[in-house]
Amino acid sequence: MEIISIKKIYNRKWTIGNILIGSFLFLPIGVLFYNLFNSKGKSFKYLFENLLFDYSLNTIYLILITCLCSLIFAILPAWFISNYKFKGRKIYDVLLFLPLSIPSYIMAFTYSEILSFTGPIQTFFKNFSPEIADFLNKDYLQIEVLGIILALALYPYVYTSSRISFSYIGSNYINLSKTLGLSSIKTFYKVIIPLSKPAIFSGLFLIILEVLNEYGAVKYFGVNTYTTGIFRAWFSMGETNTAIQLACLLLIIVFLIFVFEKKSNSNKGFYYSSNSKIQKLNMVVKKNLPIIHFSCLIPFLFGFFFPFIFILNNSFKIISSIEYKELIVLLVNSLSVSSISSLLIVLFGIIFIFIEKNSKSKINVLITQLVSLGYAIPGAVIGLSLILLFTSLKKSFFPISIIGSIYILIYAYIVRFLAVGISPIRSSVEKMPESYNDTGKNLGLGFYNLLKKIHLPINKLALISAFIITFVDLLKELPITLILRPFNFDTLATQTYQFAIEEMLKESSIYSLFIITIGCVMLLIFKAILNKELDVS
């Protein structure tokens, strides 16, 4: 009997390891909940009664606008590019991806500048046609405008997911609907859209989280969202506990939405992807070409090209006053922190997914889900919870300098962005047949070799994708860095933001330009990988 019990522990060593790492990463979230039950925020009731309803309505309205516009910007081009053969198709496919490299707050500041009374558009018309200038002279700091701008920055999430889904659905279902008497348009909304719903939602979900986490742009536009409420409680009223309570409430709501959506999909068992091959492209009828180009160009031009040109132009204007030494320091800071954190995230991702896949215990699935929750928490709140965590631990465990050290910053990054890195790894591993594992074992591989010789090489592309996606996200990261960074530590993002928030858009432009350029390069690599995967499978 003794032998068996030792064996049992031995057999569970992976699960036990997983629980340890999982709880390490879950700690900050745990701290939040601990404080939630451990305290009473005085202002919670006040906020709840006076502002929260208003803030929530604003939030929902903003999310709705952003999602709706994202859908418009993303779905049509994704559909055309997945299904039709036309000149420029491949280039569009790449270009439509690029807005992801522009941080949403930069997009918002840039557009408010472009549209403002002193911006290039109105100035132009003031000289040439005062009537048009008068017509354009409007207050653009509106929630609707903000929604559109955020959509321009975020629509690529939906574009990617629906693009993949559309090309997997294939012509099969389309042919089927035709023979059942459906016209093309009817086919689109009665068959294609319902079938792509899970994929589209997964993209929308990311957008929702980003909007919830948005602070800079929202504040500038005078739109009070739920996150504003959290910050109001925390900063203006000085009620940390209330802030935590609000954050937890948000977390729970997000989690419920997520679970609900997952459930409703699993009931219907969407299995088309395994069932059909990549479809062949259709030729385009000439008269439809303008529509296709229009729908592909608009999101790219407004989501990337115009802001990019504006920022580029600003950079040229201040090119003489750039301090290159400082720029290099910022560059090194940004690149090193982002790449180290992304590497660690990928590493943790591999561990979680590999153990989840190889152990039969359901605990491991739960762990992965719990540590993925971090993405739903606003970055500043994660920063706060880490400060709480380490100040209460430090006396017994850590040296003083641990807070405000690069380690904590990276730790916080990992906690928040793990979910971003895990999801491409998971989807790749899930596509892998069960029998690879069994074959490996049968051919004499142990646990480590299984990972090294089979899982890692086969999922190589997914690992690179995971790295790139988190890297680009981290490059743009702001709130966590602001709160937790060490002395004299600036990144491209913080520097951009500091100037932008002080209404010095020009001075900020060179830093945003670097963020965008690096992001673009990475995204181009990512796109190349994605296309490769689409073609092979």
Binding site: F117, N137, G238, A380, I400
Partner: protein, 323 residues
């Protein structure tokens, strides 16, 4: 701690992140050889961090752009009194309790459209609640600390009730919902969306010294008005950027040296000419652009009260619908 002493340095938690600050620190290092380390973040985040770090905090100095936050820090026991006789500043601006030292100050002023508003119609902050300004007033949102400080000063001077009334009046006179920053309010006047804005003084200086012609013309489209100037009035609302010495400062000597430097004539000149704020050192004159607006009477309120009445200010904002 011993390690910190070996290296000749001073650690700052600062809310200020202008280029001019960097210049100051570099100068300071050149003069004294003391290295200045900075963490820049929101004042409340920094206070949170100081609170949690407690005795182990590496920070020596805490810099904010709002006296209210300095008050909050000292209320939380995070600051210690500053003793130095080398600090030469305007007495009216000093912290009565001696916990912090101002390094610049500015007024929250009224700007008005040259075309549509007559200067003679303007008088006080309270007057802005008058019906005659219906649909004409521009101001940023209530989550901004400048507005919170202004409201706190009104509460401190006139009491909660009249502050509420005032707020309600202002809200009814809004030209649009509060949004954007101070510069945007000026631009909105230039573009005709409203006639009067409440802004910080130095933003006008920044606009007028801009490299963008349109910003300059926006700045020129408005004039500056200092409210509450009459004999019987209390003066325009001002606020300071200030610096506090942390309770457990590990490099106290260096920290005091930095405070002394920042209030010195040389440093004050740099502030004045780069950020268009008013100097706290009586020996220094404001920048030319700022000087043109003339001198004005400052509200003599104890600036710590701005922190004390902050929560009340927020409640009034919420109640009266100032978003």
């Amino acid at each position: 701690e011993s390690k910190n002493k070996k290296i000749n340095e001073v650690n700052l938690y600062s809310q200020r992140h202008y280029n001019v600050d960097k210049k100051q620190y570099e100068n300071f290092e050149k003069i004294t050889g003391i290295k200045v380390n900075v963490v820049k973040a929101n004042a409340d985040e920094l206070i949170e961090r100081l609170k949690n770090e407690g005795a182990d905090s590496p920070a020596d100095l805490f810099i904010t752009v709002d006296a209210g936050k300095l008050h909050k820090a000292s209320q939380n026991g995070l600051l210690q009194k500053i003793n130095s006789n080398k600090i030469n500043i305007d007495n009216q601006l000093k912290d009565p309790n001696g916990f912090w030292v101002p390094i610049t100050y500015r007024a929250r002023i009224i700007v008005y459209s040259n075309e549509r508003v007559k200067k003679a119609d303007l008088s006080t902050y309270s007057d802005l609640a008058n019906e005659k300004w219906k649909g004409k007033i521009l101001v940023r949102s209530s989550s901004n600390s400048y507005n919170q400080a202004l409201m706190a000063s009104i509460i401190a001077n006139d009491g909660i009730e009249s502050a509420s009334k005032w707020s309600k009046g202002i809200v009814e006179n809004f030209a649009r919902n509060p949004k954007g920053n101070d510069r945007d309010q000026v631009k909105a006047i230039a573009s005709g969306q409203g006639d009067i804005a409440i802004v910080n003084s130095y933003y006008i200086g920044l606009l007028l010294s801009s490299k963008n012609d349109d910003e300059i013309s926006a700045g020129k489209a408005v004039s500056v008005f200092f409210p509450n100037q009459g004999e019987d009035k209390r003066g325009s609302h001002i606020n300071v950027s200030g610096i506090g010495l942390t309770k457990n400062s590990p490099n106290k000597k260096n920290a005091i040296k930095l405070i002394e430097y920042l209030t010195s004539v040389d440093a004050q000149k740099i502030y004045v000419n780069n950020s268009y704020e008013y100097p706290v050192n009586t020996l220094v004159e404001p920048n030319e652009i700022v000087k043109e607006w003339g001198t004005f009477k400052k509200d003599s309120l104890d600036l710590n009260l701005l922190g004390k009445f902050r929560n009340e200010a927020i409640l009034i904002f919420d109640k009266t619908g100032w978003k």
